[in-house]
């Protein structure tokens, strides 16, 4: 029997955005995919998010943003991730993000942005393929 560690995912909602249905659905769905999902609720600051990522030793940070402030929040989280050497953590996002911004974010270092209607399997497969640490 090969011992595989669990993939740990932080699902967070940054800033003033109370629309958490999507984040909760995703948290639940990724649990059903066998991941350990840390869900921290709404109104998180970038500092909260990165601190949680460090304390929980996650493989993935997933930001759910429907407020339109995605450029600001992703930039700030990326900044703090760099500052804290979270180089082996995958940053992904979901929500309503214009296509132009999506490209910009990906160039900045966000691994992927998932738009409304994305099948859950696509997200879980993306995570399995792209996490940066070995599962041993």
């Amino acid at each position: 029997m090969i011992k595989m560690r669990k993939i740990r995912v932080l699902i967070a909602k940054p800033g003033l955005d109370g629309h958490d249905r999507g984040a909760k659905v995703l948290a639940r769905a990724l649990m059903e995919e066998g991941f350990e999902v840390i869900y921290t609720g709404i109104h998180q600051t970038a500092e909260d998010i990165v601190r949680t990522a460090i304390e929980e030793d996650v493989d993935v940070i997933g930001l759910s943003i429907l407020s339109g402030a995605h450029m600001y929040h992703f930039t700030r989280v990326l900044e703090l991730m760099k500052k804290n050497n979270l180089n082996d953590v995958l940053l992904i996002g979901g929500g309503i993000v214009p296509t132009d911004d999506k490209e910009k974010l990906k160039n900045m270092g966000v691994a992927e942005i998932f738009m409304p209607g994305t099948p859950i399997k696509e997200i879980s497969e993306f995570i399995r393929k792209n996490i940066k640490r070995p599962l041993e």
Binding site: M1, K3, R5, K6, A27, R28, L30, M31, E32, E33, G34, F35, E36, V37, I38, Y39, T40, G41, H43, Q44, T45, E47, D48, R51, T52, I54, E55, E56, D57, N84, N85
Partner: protein, 305 residues
């Protein structure tokens, strides 16, 4: 084993290691136990455990103590995954450097904790944390494992749930050193207090369990709760009972390491073969012995299954 005990990133990796079974690190932690105060918080889901812990942590932080919080949530029996949501109620702690919050999945273990919770506790103790607060899986009646790890077990109740028969049942009502009736502003809290009072008798070690009403979300009576917890710890200390608690914790740890290995075997195809053989021509006793032999062969000689 560790270079910088203040480096959260480093601590974080160590927890992951010990949580995924690392005998060497577990041993290191035991050898370096300094004697942290360990508080266990248990109770039905939604009773306010996480909120109470957050408020308690603030009190200990105000005394310049280093606080570690372990929040355990259940794993899925189907996928093995988990949603870990205890941190949601602890957002206010993010302002403080001297607190570390870690969420653990129960990873298939029943009893309210995970296989390696005792190891994580020892690790935080060894790293110099003064207070370790453990939040069990939101529990019903049978989650009593916390009794083996914590110095003080706090059982959280809420008004309105259950009649007086619930409190005379075996299990969780027996392990509480302190009982809390939280959400005391919602429903007949005094009635619940009276129900609990009728059952309280001094424990074998001489401690009389205490009851306190709280409204955690509004910080009401959290000082009283903290004082009772510290009073109980002082009682253990003055009566030389801390050693006894430590032995209990280490015994529990050894048992969980064994359980983990046994469960690994039972979750492998080896157990299918043994079950099939038992159905055909074996007897229960020889099947169990065969399993014990597998356990010994695989682990006793340093092997790994």
């Amino acid at each position: 084993m560790i270079n910088d005990v203040n480096n959260k990133m480093e601590i974080s990796k160590l927890i992951t290691k010990i949580e995924n079974h690392d005998d060497e690190l577990s041993t290191w932690a035991i050898k370096n136990i300094k004697g942290a105060q360990i508080i266990g918080i248990t109770g039905v889901f939604g009773s306010g455990k996480s909120t109470i812990i957050s408020k308690l942590a603030l009190k200990y932080l105000a005394e310049n103590k280093k606080v570690a919080i372990l929040g355990i949530d259940p794993s899925s029996p189907f996928s093995g995954g988990a949603v870990l949501g205890d941190r949601i109620r602890m957002k206010e702690l993010n302002k403080y450097d001297n607190v570390y919050v870690r969420s653990l999945s129960s990873r298939g273990k029943i009893g309210g904790l995970s296989y390696f919770t005792a190891d994580v506790v020892n690790l935080f103790d060894a790293l110099g944390y003064d207070i370790i607060i453990i939040e069990t899986v939101g529990s019903g009646q049978d989650e009593v494992d916390i009794y083996n790890i914590a110095h003080t077990v706090v059982v959280i109740h809420v008004p309105t749930l259950g009649d007086e028969v619930q409190v005379i049942k075996a299990g969780q009502m027996e392990i509480g050193d302190i009982f809390v009736v939280n959400k005391a502003d919602q429903g007949p809290a005094d009635e619940k207090v009276r129900e609990i009072e009728t059952l309280i008798t001094p424990k074998n070690n001489g401690w009389s369990p205490k009851i306190v009403k709280t409204v955690a979300i509004r910080n009401q009576n959290i000082d009283e709760l903290k004082n009772l917890i510290d009073e109980h710890y002082k009682f253990l200390k003055e009566n030389n009972l801390l050693k006894e608690k430590l032995i209990l914790r280490i015994k529990y740890l050894i048992k969980q390491h064994l359980n983990y290995k046994l469960d690994n075997i039972m979750n492998s195809t080896l157990s299918d073969q043994i079950a099939e053989k038992l159905l055909k021509d074996k007897d229960v006793k020889s099947s169990v012995n065969e399993l014990l032999k597998i356990l010994g062969d695989n682990y006793g000689k340093g092997g790994n299954i």
